[in-house]
Symmetry: D2
Subunit: 377 residues, 4 copies
């Protein structure tokens, strides 16, 4: 089985998430990185490509040129990974989709609703795949949690508590990672709510299978002079009657990357935290709490399918991310042969991206409306 | 130094919180229980008193009679503990205050605002002490947290996250403890919000010293047929600009008594959970997280003052409660001699009780108003 | 039911364990402290007694005088608690037993085998009760663990891992608590091994019901100039084939009072740590690990019998200790009426004390013999 | 920079550790797997190679043939990974070394001392690199722990506690992974002691930099009929006076892969557990315990050098293993150019392997000698 050929837009020297995508693409041996427009700076683009063993003639400085050139090659890329700041998603996404190349794109979908719509339209017109990397859905125990909810282990869901707390933006900061995230021109109108709030919202939706109908939000920008939110309080109402709370913060001193999800139903409850992702507690009402481990006793098929090594041998963030790349590969292999994605695979796409955009928009609208309950588009 | 003489209203055989108050009163050797109207059922009152070594002539069946009789005795009680359901606080509280006897009363203050006002008026008229047992304020690390916030270890407070999750009312239940809590005639209009939401709210206020100005609430009654809320979502706005979220639930399967408080400021953050109350984490921005232990390295004076045994020897719920009884004793001894309560002592009273009543009322009003931001009285 | 009358030897101002015994005796309302020889220093004895509300005529400075005087009173003490350093156990224990008064005594039994034998002989001659306060046996989950082992939940026991780590003697220290513990004339030949090693050994024996037959030990005195061991490594062989390891240390920097017991059998394993004593994990082979809580779902009768408050409301060190006082009271009440102690009660006595002395002696002998396997007396 | 070419011996379909090596080799993009003798079964060898994209002419069934053929190719492999059961290390290791090809080999070094010596001799004769994959040394916090000890953060080391507990062999089992591990002909005379005891021993040595001089061991085979040990108790004496305990077990029900290391010195103590490898606690004597995170505040250079992603984004077992492959690549690149390995890199080799063999031999000898203190070769 040949490896698929991957291109990348963004992710040059000094970037963070580009390197993550590359490791994720390597872990399961499904992809080779063969082309890139890694930076809009020509020197950096070239140097970055050389570091990565990309041939000189496939080290582009312009994504549009790259889309054309790769589409024209017999050995052109099967898919491109877009790992630029939010406002730079739509341009390359549309270009590659139009060129007939599948797109793997970091979240959130775009910086503005208009950009999001452009991507959606291009995807629809092209018939090519658009794959959104909400990477936390790749954790085995998150897959297991989803399966447990779906098969009724928790009964009817009542309460969803999700939070995503960081502290790295607690003070005025500068640097490649921070700058664009606090600049509305590049991040979009949402700051924290877009950057990590969307992850939290997506995770709650993914695990519970519930659609949020309304939210009431209170957004703050605590750091003086900050133009986007850095702390987000949201109350949620889901279809079917479940309720939730969502907290996202980039100023919560004492937190590194504390994404946590709790779901409580009539029959059971689960609790999972990303920083130690190989364990999840599960309580059946009236019974002792259980510690479920990735791949351990009591694992569900959905969880073990995406598990590489035995329990007690921790898998982490990169493995979860790698699962998205392996499932993207599976999707592309199958659709290229006119087949459906096998059961148990989960690939997030345009609709999930639009749902994230609606979440951001609703949070901002509700907060500006002094917390009025606001529908999600 | 003579022990103070304690009477009790409520707390007969089969009760829960009455037994807790009694142990709490014994632990530090400041009180002797010498009188009681332990039940309105005469037989049970007598039998309960006998169990506890209360003399027959001080085993009352009527609190009004008890107030009169004890006030008339040379060796009458110094204070009475009221440990009845919420709707039965005001009657005895007013009676004992009018009889010139200090009152120690379980929370919340009362079942209705009217009852609360009656107590407040009686306290004012009598000049006697009214002591409210928000027992979680008695934990040494909570005292330390308060001191740390007050002296600026956390900088300016930005975000307060407080939650109190239980699951014992996740299904329709019956029994002495459950029945009155889900009966609005006895618990008041608030269910979960009054029973444990007030604890969470009080704890957040106590530690941060911040006054909540507004809240937006979404209350649910998940168990079919339940007449009071059993799950409570609240967003908070504090004077000075801090924001908070409060979650209280009695249907969150997998939780026993999971009260947790997190406070994040410009310079630091703390995290404390009641079920393992002898540790608290503290992070100074940019430094490794510290695990502070009750009485351990780095303890504050406020924490060690109410600590009985060395770190590593866990104190629990009853010791925290006992601190309230010891501070009540200190208060009574000092005021009886015209002195002020020594520094470092904290006794909650009428104002804290009224604040809790305002919290309940605002939650209910906001929730009925579809989450409108509602001032706290 | 009248409260029993307690006397105390040792425990004057500045002492640690005496205060613990007094709180423990108060918690369940079974005892009144009415007499004491709290210090050999007359002034301190008097002042300490006054602090505690002991009548002047029962504030003794000499334990022998106290034994005589209390035995002669109609309202004399039912039992005496001996809370002096190790070398001061035998004198008062023998005196009170000879005077016909039950003895409650801190561990280890004595500083020397000779003293231990004197106590044993006096107990035998008197027919009075001798109760040894290995307080960690009073924790509800330890009772539950014992019951679980006894009823076969763990299958046949194979491996026992017990450790008790502290760091407060990591440097040369001085002070009332430290001084006598590192002075062989007062602590006995064992330092750490006697002070906390005996607790660890007792706990392992209590929970498993297994008798240690042989041990191989390596004792160290790490702090320069220290005359007794401060770190203890032991391998154990139990009757029936189980094996164990025991580590006790008072120089393990980073530990406050870290007593931990793990027991592994053919069918299951448990793990309990004293610093958070309200939880214990239990794994049935091939099933997810369970978190058992004190009094929570799946609690055994043995555990709930000694539990005062609901799960999630933590009980601690003092409550565990209090259970020993309540069971001592139960024992005395029953034997005084010619009855057997009710099922489920556990009172440790002379034989447990002698077993502890044999453990100390075997550790020292083995270590001096370069780790030779040494029988336990 | 070209990727290095990797071959593999063992690791065909159904194997465990071979797949781990392959992922580890891919993660950092330093290696391409291009040749293999993946199984001695010809069909399985071919099929396994095809799965992995290995060209047909480099899918060997015989390691000796592979060594010859690869040595003869201009594009021959730079190194071979040997991932066979213990008794099959020496044959291929000697063959590839003699053929002038670097060897990466799983632990323990060999099944017998004779085999170990053969490898050592072949390595010496060839001048080629022999790299032993004690993968737990690759964890960033283990690197940091080593650096902290080396620079004196813990003071003089006194006590080392290391344990490695599993339960997967608690019953008689069968299967590809279990079979050879309990067969002395394939595993060597040591069972658990060789399989995981060596990891624990190596980790303690790696972090502390201390050489174990003597040990006293008690080995058991609990499962009826088992011919090798499955539970290992060891006391250790290190050069310089530190002491240790080591517990390894494959029958400790309730443990998946519970490798834990604690080191206590005169000034500080650390505690690290492999199952959540992104945190380590560190206590300076007299100060609050700190939670150090991989790459977080207070990270050392040694730890951050081998860290790929920010703190709070967990890395796991595969990333730690990958660091060994990246450092092996660095070593090969440097020695091939006559340069020394850069500072901060750690590659374990023959001497570490021999030390592991001496550990196994000493444990067996001591245990057979009833626990006599036995020097380590």
């Amino acid at each position: 089985m040949r490896r698929l050929r991957l291109g990348m837009v963004g992710g040059g020297q000094g970037a963070f998430i580009g390197g993550v995508h590359r490791i994720a693409a390597r872990i399961d041996g499904q992809w080779d990185l063969v082309a890139g427009a890694l930076s809009s700076d020509a020197d950096r683009a070239r140097a970055s490509a050389a570091d990565l063993g990309i041939a000189e003639d496939r080290a582009y400085t312009d994504f549009a040129e790259m889309a054309q050139a790769e589409a024209a090659r017999a050995d052109g890329i099967d898919a491109v990974a877009i790992v630029t700041p939010n406002h730079m998603h739509a341009g390359p996404a549309v270009a590659f989709l139009k060129a007939g190349i599948h797109v793997i794109c970091d979240k959130p979908l775009a910086a503005t609703p208009e950009q999001a719509d452009q991507i959606a339209q291009a995807q629809k017109d092209s018939g090519k795949q658009f794959i959104l990397t909400h990477n936390y859905t790749g954790y085995p125990l998150i897959r297991q949690a989803r399966e447990m909810v779906a098969r009724g282990d928790l009964g009817e869901i009542r309460v969803v508590q999700v939070e995503y707390a960081q502290d790295w933006l607690a003070e005025e900061t500068s640097g490649k990672q921070a700058d664009w995230r606090v600049d509305p021109a590049r991040s979009g109108a949402g700051g924290c709510v877009g950057d990590i709030g969307t992850h939290a919202f997506n995770l709650a939706s993914f695990v519970t299978g519930l659609r949020a109908q309304q939210l009431a939000a209170d957004l703050q920008a605590f750091v003086p002079g900050r133009q986007v939110d850095d702390n987000v309080h949201v109350m949620l109402r889901f279809a079917g009657g479940a309720r939730g709370m969502l907290w996202a913060s980039q100023v919560a001193v004492g937190n590194e990357n504390a994404l946590r999800l709790r779901v409580h139903g009539t029959k059971g409850g689960i609790d999972w935290a990303q920083e130690n992702p190989n364990v999840m507690t599960f309580t059946r009402f009236g019974e002792p709490k259980q510690i479920l481990t990735r791949g351990g006793a009591g694992s569900s098929a959905a969880g073990t399918r995406v598990t590489r090594i035995p329990p007690g041998h921790p898998e982490g963030y990169l493995e979860g991310f790698a699962t998205l790349y392996s499932e993207a590969a599976a999707l592309i292999r199958h659709v290229d042969q006119g087949q459906a994605l096998p059961e148990g695979h989960h690939v997030l796409g345009i609709e999930d991206g639009l749902q994230g955009m609606r979440f951001i928009a609703a949070c901002i609208a509700s907060s500006r409306g002094d917390g009025v309950w606001t529908p999600l588009g």
